[in-house]
Amino acid sequence: MKLLKNIALSDTGFVFNPGNGDSFSVNPIGLSILKDLQEGKSEDAIRNRVIEDYQTDKETIEKDLYDFLKMIEQFNLTDYHE
């Protein structure tokens, strides 16, 4: 999964899609995941990084990450050609 190239991410967690004018706010974890996607990291790499950063069980992180990725897909923040 890749983030659309022109998505603007602000350090405050403000996310702007200049292609359709949509904007969102994400928390620090969400922002870190979006930045990972923008850097081209794989879902596996993101999962491992989040597991390392947050002391929570693997199942919870996998489920939450899956939900988050599906959500940004539904919000048209990902490149559907990828």
Partner: protein
Amino acid sequence: MSKRKITIAVSGLNNIDSPGPGIPVIRALKDSELFEIRIIGLSYDTMEPGIYMHDLVDKTYQIPLPSAGQQSLITRLTYIHQQEKIDVLIPNFDAELFNFIKLQDTLKKMGIDTFLPALEQFEERQKWALNTFGEKYGIKVPKSKQINSTAEIHALTHEFGYPLVVKGKFYDATVAYSPDQAMAAFNKISSKWGLPIIIQQFTPGIEVNLTGIGDGKGNLIGAVPMRKTYITDKGKAWAGIALEDETLMNIARNMLKGNKWRGGFELEMIKTDKREYYLIEINPRFPAWVYLAVGAGQNHPEALVRLALGEDVKPYESYETGKMFIRYSYDKIVDLKEFEIISTLGEL
């Protein structure tokens, strides 16, 4: 660099909840780095707010309604020109454009420049001809047809299905979910704007619009795409945001290469979930949100004035995405005397 003094007549001073483009066009002109502009307002109704906005409009003259015909319009414009020595005239209403296009040569002889589409360009993008227009210029258009009687509504169930869009020939559009609603919309819109009524297939998706200006030689001088982020109950943008949309820009560029549009215009498109673009309307003038283009770095009304004066205008190459506009309402206090003067003398 000293600014050139110039007098520009502008219509569309109805800066109301469903605003005309006049006041935004004037604001854009007042922002010009090239011109020091005296604005002559052309109004149809004494309640058009622009008449009383003296910080933007220097003098206003009432002009006859488009239905009064070209002769009474040119008689009135001749009088106004004698008083004000107009350099450029920018009409901003769809309904008045036919008369101004027909009169543009006469106006030119009088010394008034305009920058309007040719009659053929104006006519071929009419709502009732949009399917043919789309085929000619390779733009997808929802299926549409014109009807002249409520008796034709029942047949629409099989031909279009519901919902469908009922549109007036100049303004207004309503989504109807049943024949009863289509009937009501037909009666409401036709009583205001006359016949025909245009029926258009409903296309689900998000509406994206583009304000632009063509030089009449096939070049897109400027264009800014926008999505409405807050819409009034009349379907008008109360807020919007400048988009980065290269597909929409290419649609505009290709259209202009084909039809060599002359003047300001607005494309109203639907972008579907599959990222396909359907043209639902072309307005033959700047939209009321044209000032967003100025905010994003492109002064389209200024470019139009330069083109009208016969100057060589280079296309804008960029604009700032993410610029937003948010309208607001404002209670202007007006002395009864001013209302009396415009009502009785037809000028203020």
